[in-house]
């Protein structure tokens, strides 16, 4: 997907729908731009704020609670059904 070259400059843009990988990738771009040191103060401030938002987004994605293991099956109508997974006793060889 083509990224708008100026999109990361928008400090106010939402980060909440970014997945970890996109947020981290954009954060690296922001850092590269800031560390390059050739941006004007106003742009540096906007970049910095965007960077803060991206760091927060990443941190929130890493902060989830431990997830329960579930089991997936198809119902009689073919619809997906997910239930808590119970490990079955071992019967040898099949694992």
């Amino acid at each position: 997907m083509e990224r708008d070259p100026d999109a990361f400059m928008t400090a106010a843009a939402e980060t909440s729908d970014l997945d970890y990988e996109s947020a981290l990738g954009e954060l690296d771009q922001v850092l590269a731009n800031l560390e390059d040191g050739r941006v004007a103060l106003e742009d540096a401030m906007a970049l910095y704020e965007r960077g803060v938002g991206l760091v927060r987004r990443c941190a929130s994605l890493l902060d989830g609670a431990e997830k329960r293991v579930t089991e997936l099956a198809a119902g009689p109508d073919g619809a997906l059904e997910e239930t808590p997974f119970e490990a079955r006793p071992e019967d040898g060889g099949a694992g």
Binding site: D19, L27, L41, T70, A87, R88
Partner: protein, 434 residues
């Protein structure tokens, strides 16, 4: 008298032979071990072969045919020289009377049989481009949900859950239980993969613990290989032990030697991700707020260079001004002290004993002003970009930290052009921004 001889028509003879053969149960249910001589796969889908004696291939052979209907179950493509076990019945082709073996089963023999079927399927799928590197999909860095297609019991699923809990407990494991060996297992695995493909997961693990070569056959089936290729999510295979290679390993987006390693490859180490993020957070602080420090360092170096290169006259004139100021200051102090009626032993003593008077302060300010003007000559590109430097007006100290001043303090801010003198109304010290 001549004994009457029964003269047969050719067709009658053929029918007689045929009837005779088909009445013999031994010839209607024959297993034969042979080597394939010639082989033709007709456009209609029938296989025509000659089967030769394994021990004396040049001395005995028989024609054989396998019609399209029976050939559907053929797991390999027959080739000349191949050792096979064939099953069928002996009969004749009525119109010509040719004796033939009508085959319903044909299997390569020995331990090479599975290997041969494996190689042939591999070649076929590769020719279709199913193993092409550009078909391989990238795995997500941090999967939210991970489907595991495997047996619901046994070590493989336990190992995977264990690894995910240890490395990345925030990733949800979704087990898609399936039969993994024996009759019907290819169909079951393909169905489970289809289910996983329809579910909301980021990546699919197809794993099975170690077993005999026969136990792993489902993962060498064309059905399962195609189900892996058709899965809309990236698939990571971890089947058997390190030494086992199955067709699924080739089709999968990533191949792991065991179920545990497959899990290690799919989920990141959460602590490592957190450390990585912390390092970036630090870089952001340095690159954002702390960037000023880099500029400050550059400024200091320029000042040093400037001091070295500036016309000596300027510095000299500054010094002379200072000397004159000091002389005048000393005189003023002496005058003040005399007015106070105190004895004065020496100029130096008076200076150190009495501390700076208001004129000394003014002289210092004047001096600071001159030095400031000198600095202003330096190429302070950084100020041109909108940065400014704030000093305490009483000590001239650069303010780096809100804690350095109290409300009510007077500060001096130097801009690219001009200077601001301000009074601090409030201090919000030690606020971490990130």
């Amino acid at each position: 008298m001549l004994t009457p001889v029964r003269i047969l028509q050719v067709g009658e003879l053929n029918s007689l032979i045929r009837a005779d053969l088909e009445e013999d149960p031994d010839l209607q249910d024959v297993w034969v071990e042979a080597e394939i001589g010639t082989h033709t796969h007709s456009a209609a889908g029938h296989h025509y072969l000659t089967l030769k004696d394994c021990r004396q291939p040049e001395q005995s052979s028989i024609k054989a045919v396998m019609f399209r209907g029976q050939a559907k179950g053929l797991a390999f493509e027959p080739v000349t020289g191949q050792q096979v076990i064939a099953h069928g019945k002996v009969s004749t082709y009525a119109s010509r009377g040719d004796l033939q073996l009508y085959l319903d089963r044909l299997e390569p023999t020995g331990v090479g049989a599975l290997a041969l079927a494996f190689q042939q399927l591999l070649a076929k799928l590769e020719a279709e481009g199913l193993f092409a590197p550009d078909r391989k999909r990238r795995l997500p860095l941090l999967p939210r949900r991970l489907a595991v297609v495997t047996s619901g019991r046994g070590a493989a699923i336990r190992d995977v859950i264990h690894v995910v809990r240890r490395r990345c407990p925030i990733t949800q494991v979704v087990v898609v239980p399936t039969l993994v060996q024996g009759e019907g297992s290819p169909t079951a695995i393909a169905a489970a993969l289809e289910l996983a493909g329809r579910s909301d997961v980021d990546v699919v693990l197809l794993v099975r613990g170690g077993g005999s070569l026969e136990d792993l056959q489902a993962f060498n089936s064309e059905l399962v290989a195609r189900a892996v290729a058709a899965c809309p999510h990236p698939v990571v295979a971890g089947v058997g032990h390190e030494t086992d290679t199955t067709v699924v390993d080739y089709v999968a987006d990533l191949r792991a030697p065991t179920p545990s390693v497959a899990a290690e490859l799919v989920v990141p180490d959460l602590e490592a991700l957190r450390a990585e993020l912390a390092a970036r957070r630090l870089r952001l602080r340095r690159g954002g707020l702390g960037w000023l420090q880099v500029e400050r360092e550059g400024l200091r170096q320029r000042q040093v260079r400037l001091a070295r290169m500036a016309p000596l006259a300027r510095i000299e004139s500054g010094r002379q001004d200072l000397d004159r100021a000091q002389v005048r200051l000393a005189a003023a102090v002496r005058r003040i002290l005399r007015q106070e009626g105190l004895a004065l032993r020496s100029r130096n003593q008076s200076l150190s004993a009495s501390g700076p008077g208001p004129r000394l302060l003014r002289a210092r300010e004047e001096f600071a002003g001159r030095v400031g003007r000198l600095e202003a000559l330096s190429p302070l590109a950084v100020l041109g970009r909108g940065y400014s430097i704030t000093f305490r007006s009483d000590t001239g100290q650069v303010i780096r930290d809100g804690a350095q001043v109290a409300p009510g303090a007077d500060v001096v801010t130097r801009l690219h052009r001009g200077t601001l003198r301000s009074r601090v109304t409030a201090v919000e010290a030690n606020q971490e921004v990130v």
